[in-house]
């Protein structure tokens, strides 16, 4: 039926309407997911991600529409049949009492075992495989309730995996986890998709992580499916801003990060970037509330993306190319406005000649210049006299000197 | 625990009485006690160890005595929920002081109370467990006699002096006989009380004398048979003592307690197999009309002797309101145990349970 290169669809939602009682939370949800694919549900709190997942888990009835799972009508499946196709990971805290990690994972065999639930050799194999898969081989003998949150989550995933499902639904699988375990969890889920051909649907609150691991994302807001597709296509700045009604933050789709807006209470400062040298300087200045202007930044350069995400005024040049005269003129205007000019210590190459020239001009204009370059190589590299500049060891020193400078100039 | 406290009090009071001036007198009646002082006041200890001061009308109460522990004597109006106390008021010629009682008129055997409830001269306070406090406040009796100590806080609040006469604590025969003396100071009926005690004691002596001449001691058990379980009168109860005094052999003398107690079924069975007769509080009013019914209620002990060849007696309804006729009750019991000593005697308070 399916072409060899065309992966079979595991689950398809058709005009699904979900909600509690008679109150619809989401309407007209339609999408499909193929095996081995990772789908993230994104959306603000209360948008209905959990409601959708609970409906798909059959914990609450669908209000309208239909779900086809593994080619079968969801509503006609018995609970036990569904459990052989689909495993669910909820946010419910598990308190299984005196069960070991192994026994908790083994509970996942429930839909596959017989009347008394006795585990056969095959079942034990599946459980062991699942535990190995999540890298929890050293936890098996310990009581589940004595594990750390991160270790527990691994076992919870192993339990879902032991169910040998074709689809795993996860509600906020990284909730309550620290960064390390968050990344671990996501990488386990990723390998489930890749290695076990399991389709995964997870609601996530971390757009950053979602954009990295997902094959597909579903944006859920405004009582329905706002967008569906690969994150590369769906997650642009406007979509994310709409989704979360972002007001004090910007999203950069290439970096996949959200940056907060600042109030631009200080400055402005003019930064000369290049090849990522300005990345942390830009972030720090942004955090310290400076209005930032950024001189010739090459497209595709990390500095460019960061500056844009940080809402800096930006003059760009083509990748590895020279700036146009108009662009240089714009930079001069900015330098005039700026209270200080910052040399990020960019590597000097063919393409960065423009920035070196601008620095020299700034020096001539008598601008206060703060540099992250070593004083010894300053003149040799940029042609601007080191004596007129404030040289800083690192970004922190730069920030404090800059702060002192602006404080003085104001008073 | 409470019993221990009460006894400690009693012991303390006895010691105090011993060193008190000669004019004052002290009488302990079980856990109850009466201390008469030379100025005409009385200090009583009630069933839960509270000290009640009885002060003649017009006389200043001793300092520090709270109103709720103070009763003006002689009392003119009495309220009570106790059948036993009410029947003793008959013996004290004080039945006309009763102004309010609990229970329906048909539950009362004493004609004065039954008539009073009917014609309204005595107020009904409602049910035993659901007292109508409003009625009680309206009447405001000089004193309230109760067996239920749980009512004390409420009655204290209402400012009604209360005496707990829980007869659970007056279980031995001598206390039963002398209990009337505890009630006497309220009415000044000392003469009547003395007459009552003398009469009952005389009857008791007579019973003992009669029984002394008989060698055979019929074996007696006194208890209640319920489904699967049995309660018996303990050996330190007045019931057991009168059985002994009347020349019977009470088989549960080794059981001790304040009230009827549950004992092991096997013990009841093995004693029951020896017993010649059984006395029970279970009556036809509770469905226990015949021996056959009693056997069916608790099949396991159906084989005991009183239920087959022996006799079972139960009290008639007026028994529990006849404390004023304790002498007659004692004679009834004596006649049940040794009928040959009382030829032609007709039981007045007990009746033999039929086979079926």
């Amino acid at each position: 039926m399916n072409h060899a290169h065309n992966k079979p669809t595991v689950v398809r939602l058709e005009n699904l309407q979900v909600g509690y009682g008679r109150k619809a939370v989401l309407r007209e949800i339609s999408f499909g997911l193929q095996e081995g694919r990772f789908l993230s549900l994104l959306g603000p709190n209360g948008a209905g991600k959990t409601t959708l997942l609970r409906t798909m888990a059959r914990l609450i009835p669908a209000m309208a529409g239909n779900i086809m799972i593994a080619g079968r009508d969801f509503s006609k499946l018995k609970q036990s049949e569904l459990a052989r196709i689909q495993a669910v990971v909820l946010t419910d805290r598990l308190k299984p009492g005196l069960l070991t990690a192994y026994e908790v994972a083994a509970l996942g065999r429930h839909p596959h075992t017989g009347f008394f639930g006795k585990l056969g050799p095959q079942d034990h194999q599946a459980v062991k495989r699942a535990i190995e898969m999540v890298g929890a081989g050293d936890l098996t003998d310990r009581y589940f309730e004595q594990l750390s949150d991160g270790e527990k989550q691994k076992i919870v995933l192993a339990r879902a995996l032991a169910q040998e499902p074709r689809l795993i639904l996860l509600d906020e699988p990284t909730l309550h986890l620290d960064l390390k375990h968050r990344l671990e969890t996501m990488s386990i889920l990723r390998s489930m998709c890749r290695e076990m051909r399991v389709a995964v649907i997870a609601s996530l609150h971390d757009i950053d992580i979602a954009s990295r691991v997902s094959d597909q994302v579903a944006l859920i807001s405004g009582g329905g499916l706002a967008a569906f597709g690969p994150p590369e296509r769906i997650l642009d700045e406007q979509a994310v801003a709409r989704l979360y009604s972002l007001n004090g933050a910007r999203y950069d789709s290439r970096l996949g990060v959200i940056e907060l807006r600042n109030a631009k209470r200080r400055g402005p400062v003019f930064v000369l970037p290049g090849g990522g040298a300005a990345a942390s300087t830009l972030r720090l200045l942004h955090k310290r509330d400076y209005a930032i202007m950024c001189g010739i930044a090459h497209q595709g350069d990390i500095d460019t993306h960061i500056a844009r995400a940080l809402d800096a005024e930006l003059v760009t040049a083509p990748p590895f190319g020279r700036a146009t005269p108009e662009a240089l003129q714009e930079c001069r205007r900015m330098m005039q406005l700026a209270g200080a000019v910052i040399d990020s210590g960019f590597e000097l190459g063919q393409a960065n000649q423009d920035n070196a020239a601008l620095l020299a001009e700034a020096s001539k204009m008598g601008k206060a210049i703060f540099s992250l370059r070593a004083p010894a190589s300053q003149e040799k590299e940029t042609g601007a006299p080191a004596a007129d500049m404030v040289h800083c060891q690192d970004e922190m020193e730069l920030a404090s000197r800059l702060s002192a400078f602006f404080h003085k100039s104001v008073s | 625990m409470k019993r221990i406290i009460v006894m400690a009090w009693a012991a303390l009071l006895i010691c105090l009485a011993a060193i008190a001036p000669a004019q004052a007198s002290f009488e302990a009646i079980g856990p109850f006690s009466v201390e008469s002082r030379d100025n005409g006041t009385f200090v009583l200890t009630d069933g839960i160890g509270r000290r009640i001061h009885l002060v003649p009308r017009g006389q200043k109460p001793p300092p520090g005595v709270e109103e709720k522990n103070l009763v003006r004597i002689p009392v003119k109006s009495v309220a009570t929920d106790s059948w036993r106390d009410t029947s003793l008021f008959l013996a004290l010629d004080a039945i006309d002081k009763v102004k309010a009682v609990t229970g329906k008129p048909e539950e009362w055997i004493i004609p004065q109370i039954r008539d009073g409830l009917h014609n309204g001269s005595i107020v009904s306070l409602g049910q035993r467990h659901g007292m109508d406090y409003e009625q009680l406040v309206k009447i405001k009796p000089d004193v309230f006699f109760t067996w239920d100590e749980s009512m004390i806080p409420m009655l204290d609040e209402l400012g009604i002096a209360t005496v707990v006469t829980n007869t659970d604590l007056a279980r031995d025969l001598d206390t039963q006989i002398r209990f009337v003396r505890y009630l006497a100071p309220f009415f000044g009926s000392f003469k009547q009380a003395d007459q009552y005690v003398a009469k009952v004691r005389a009857v008791l002596e007579d019973i003992k004398a009669k029984a002394n001449g008989v060698a055979a001691k019929p074996k007696v058990i006194w208890g209640d048979v319920y489904s699967k379980r049995v309660l018996v009168e303990p050996g330190n109860s007045w019931a057991a003592q009168i059985v002994q005094a009347a020349g019977g052999n009470y088989l549960f003398n080794d059981v001790a307690g304040d009230t009827c107690l549950e004992i092991a079924l096997e013990r009841f069975y093995s004693s029951g197999c020896e017993a010649d007769m059984m006395i029970t509080y279970r009556t036809p009013r509770q469905g226990m009309a015949t021996k056959a019914r009693m056997k069916a209620t608790n099949i396991t002990i159906a084989g005991i002797k009183p239920l087959s060849v022996g006799k079972v007696f139960y009290p008639l309804q007026h028994y529990s309101q006849s404390a004023d006729k304790l002498d007659e009750i004692l004679v009834d019991l004596a006649a049940m145990i040794h009928p040959e000593l009382y030829p032609g005697f007709e039981l007045r308070y007990f009746v033999e349970m039929p086979e079926d």
Binding site: L59, E81, V88, P96, Y102, F116 | K228, G257, C260
Partner: protein, 341 residues
């Protein structure tokens, strides 16, 4: 060695030990009583050799049924408690939380405290147990009707508690208007006891009880899934509604059988499952069910011996003994658990 194997090894050691203890308790139970007996005599009586007729009757018709009832009743109450504790995921739930004993008490109070059934006393055999059983079944069917409708287990729990309150309210009303003489017998029933079982009652309780205990094993798989909570159980393929009805039927059935014949016996159903978990070191219900049944039997049998020997020949109230013994155990275990977490 796999952890599950270690667990099974422990079970293989603990379960036979418990069974042995139960046999010891059973033998003690036949030998101690307020009527003196030598164990040799008791042994001969058991095997049918005639001895003193009186003792023969006592051992065969009073002690033997009582011992069996205490062991069986204890096992049934404890398993009933275990089921409800797992189902409601609540460690302080006992077999009577769904109003079973309150329902039984209500019917018994109707029979014992009012004149409704005066004509039946001593005419209808087993009047009190029948009334208690009717009351327990009434409460049970009410709870089951609710169980088939509600979505969440906790709603069922609250309903059960409310049924308990309602029936208790009626009972206390009946007590208010009852004669003192009648209350005596009712109080006696409320205290619960394994005294006075007839062979008929015992046979009935044991036969239905063992059918129910087998059914319990039949839902042990789903019960294990419930260790992760109702939602997880559902996603693992448990038909929640059907399971809930089965569980209520079995657990209430077990406690109803015991309550009808012995009256409400406190704390065994609450404390014993905790002891079983400690003894077995697991929450795996397939191992817990037999352990709970055995410990329930041992505890109830031992408490029954204490109840009849403590103030012999006076019977101490069984529920007082079980509570005196059970309450500290529960407190201790819950504290331990708290510390461990």
């Amino acid at each position: 060695m796999k952890p599950s194997e270690a667990r099974n090894h422990r079970a293989m050691a603990v379960l036979p030990l418990l069974a042995l203890t139960m046999i010891v308790v059973f033998w003690l139970s036949l030998n101690v009583g307020s009527v003196n007996s030598r164990s040799g005599e008791v042994w001969r009586i058991i095997w049918g050799a005639a001895a003193d007729a009186n003792l023969d009757f006592i051992v065969r018709n009073i002690r033997l049924p009582r011992a069996l009832a205490a062991l069986g009743g204890g096992a049934m109450l404890a398993v009933s408690g275990l089921l409800l504790q797992v189902f409601f995921r609540n460690p302080i739930v006992g077999p009577f939380v769904l109003g079973i004993s309150s329902g039984a008490t209500l019917m018994v109070s109707l029979v014992m405290l009012t004149s409704v059934a005066v004509g039946m006393v001593g005419v209808v055999p087993y009047l009190t147990p029948l009334a208690a059983f009717a009351g327990a079944l009434g409460a049970m069917s009410l709870v089951m009707a609710v169980a088939s409708r509600v979505k969440q287990g906790v709603t069922l729990l609250i309903t059960g508690i409310m049924i308990g309150y309602l029936t208790s309210a009626v009972t206390s009303l009946l007590i208010t208007f009852a004669e003192a003489e009648r209350i005596k017998g009712f109080n006696l029933w409320q205290l619960g006891s394994f005294s006075g079982y007839t062979w008929t009652e015992l046979a009935l309780m044991m036969s239905i009880g063992s059918v129910l205990l087998v059914l319990v094993y039949g839902i042990s798989k789903q019960l294990n899934a419930f260790l992760l909570g109702e939602n997880y159980a559902a996603t693992m393929g448990v038909n929640i509604r059907r399971f809930r009805i089965a569980l209520v039927f079995v657990s209430c059935g077990l406690s109803a059988l015991v309550t009808a014949t012995a009256g409400p016996v406190a704390f065994v159903g609450l404390a014993v499952p905790h002891m079983a978990r400690l003894a077995m070191g697991t929450s795996d219900n397939k191992l817990l069910i037999p352990a709970t049944a055995l410990i329930g039997a041992v505890v109830c049998g031992a408490c029954d011996i204490v109840a009849r020997m403590l103030f012999a020949p006076v019977e101490a109230p069984l529920s007082a003994i079980t509570s005196f013994f059970g309450a500290p155990v529960v407190i201790m275990l819950l504290l331990r658990n708290r510390v461990k977490q």
